[in-house]
């Protein structure tokens, strides 16, 4: 037993899990607000990372400026996708909408490869110091920033849905669209807003992962890992999405630990989340926090 490695992997799991949680929240946000299962969520992450990389390397803008530009771009992008592609699909069968989002995912995946190539590109160095020492542990700055960013986003979501006027409107729309309309809420703008927030926040996750590992098409794996997280938490629960993300992150690193110590099968880290997904669907099909009457897809 290598406890040092164990602790290392658990911290890693927590950080990666928090990122999954953030993307899972974005996924749930779209699902709750507009009843669309967005299979292109991973591509939002990817696009966010590439766009930020593009601003930073091509125009040499400072990181902070480039990051804000990326967010602005993603807000516009999210609204555009919703208005142009998803709005005409309102009222169409669930399966058609799913096909559309799968189509979007394929198109964006190809588009990004075409525009930026298939090789991983590193971000320019952002932090002055590679690592900082916390309680005697050397922690890479990006990991620390990543964790802080994830927690910040989660706190922001909590505040938004609890205290702001638009957050309440969004919850009302998720609860019952007709009631929301009767209160004077424009459900069209709520839909557009959900997509805008979801795209922008996914981009944050993309940038963080990009800074750590470099940007490549493989980045959209987050979108795939997010499914077990979301199903585990319950498809329509934002808190569930966060917890599901963290649990999946910890589990896959635990699997990696077990694998590296005893089994030596290799790549267990990649498949374990999906075993979990299958087991959950068998014993608790509505997830930890999901409501029962959700239409399964």
């Amino acid at each position: 037993m290598d406890w040092g490695l164990f602790v290392q992997l658990m911290i890693n799991g927590l950080i990666v899990g928090a990122l999954y949680g953030v993307v899972a929240m974005c996924f749930v946000l779209i699902y709750k607000a507009s009843q669309v299962v967005n299979f292109a969520q991973g591509e939002f992450v990817l696009i966010g990372a590439w766009v930020c990389w593009f601003f930073l390397t091509k125009y040499q803008v400072p990181f902070f400026v480039g990051f804000l530009m990326t967010l602005a771009f993603m807000v516009a992008f999210g609204i555009l996708i919703q208005v142009v592609v998803l709005r005409p699909m309102i009222g169409e069968p669930v399966i058609s909408v799913i096909m559309v989002t799968i189509g979007l995912s394929i198109i964006f995946q190809a588009l990004m490869k075409w525009a930026f190539g298939v090789f991983a590109q590193p971000f320019p160095p952002i932090f002055a110091r590679e690592s900082v020492a916390i309680l005697g542990l050397e922690v890479r700055t990006v990991y620390l920033v990543s964790l802080v960013a994830s927690l910040g986003i989660m706190g922001g979501f909590a505040y938004f849905f609890k205290a702001t006027r638009m957050g309440l409107a969004m919850r009302a729309t998720a609860f019952d669209q007709q009631v929301a309309q009767s209160l004077g809420i424009s459900i069209r703008s709520v839909f557009a807003m959900a997509w805008a927030i979801s795209a922008a926040v996914s981009a944050v996750a993309g940038v963080v992962v990009g800074v750590v590992n470099g940007v490549s098409s493989a980045l959209s794996f987050i979108g795939i890992k997010v499914f077990p997280a979301v199903i585990l938490g319950g498809l329509d629960s934002i808190v569930g999405g966060v917890l599901g993300g963290i649990i999946i992150g910890l589990l896959e690193n635990l699997a990696h630990f077990v694998d590296s110590q005893w089994l030596h099968w290799g790549n267990l880290i990649e498949v374990v989340p999906f075993w979990v997904l299958i087991v959950i669907l068998m014993i608790k099909p509505y997830g930890l926090f999901g409501t029962r009457d959700i239409e399964r897809v």
């Binding site: 309440l168 409107a169 007709q178 009631v179 309309q181 009767s182 209160l183 004077g184 809420i185």
Partner: protein, 282 residues
Amino acid sequence: MSLAAEPASRPAAAAPSAAPLLAVNNIEVVYSDVILVLRGLSLAVPPGQIVALLGANGAGKSTTLKAISGLLKSEDGAITRGEVLFDGQPIQALEPEAIVRRGVFQVMEGRRIISDMTCLENLRLGAFTRRDRGQVAADIDMVYQYFPRLKERTGLAGYLSGGEQQMLAIGRALMARPKLILMDEPSMGLSPFLVQEVFQIVRRLVAELGVTILLVEQNARMALQVASYGYIMERGKVVLDGTAAALAENEDVKEFYLGGGGGEERKSFKNLKSYKRRKRWL
């Protein structure tokens, strides 16, 4: 048939005020492009009053309210003919949120409060369209004055009793500061005592806040007590209208909606099993 034939009951002429707050002129509503629900319905609601809209199940009362508030569109319904005038302006082509902004607020049937939010959050949502944010807190206090028991309920609105949910639904409507409230069956599922309480408050709202109410009710007796004017619908049309007092005295209304009436032979329970509706308007 005798009543339907009487030309004296044309609503536009019979409405007491010259400039009604809401005027529905000869509207026709069709669901899913095929089902004709309202067949030339007209009514007028003068400002500062309660107007009752009565009728049997399926007469089209709720559809009328949804046609006014614009919520019809989310149920695949459409106004195919006629117009809805609010404050003299046509509103039938507006989106529901625009209609709410003009000052028409519908309290939907079955209360439809948001059960996974607290009372306070429901009330704050009622004020969604308000521009004067500073006034909202004061208005929440005002709602608590009308419905003191809502203030004590800090948990989720879904756990409130039926009566409290109805009060919350009305309170939520007040938060929007509407000129006209479309109230769909506020007495549904409430005990007679609570019905009394809710209607007393409704009466106070009209007197103290100057709101206008178009009230749809199954409880015709109660509705005619609080309303000043009433319309009776059957199969998508207004078949009779008049002041609430006149309607409450009308033999046909008594027989169809208030129970009793219809002559000597039905005064006794002995003859109840032979009761059948004597006639219809249409």
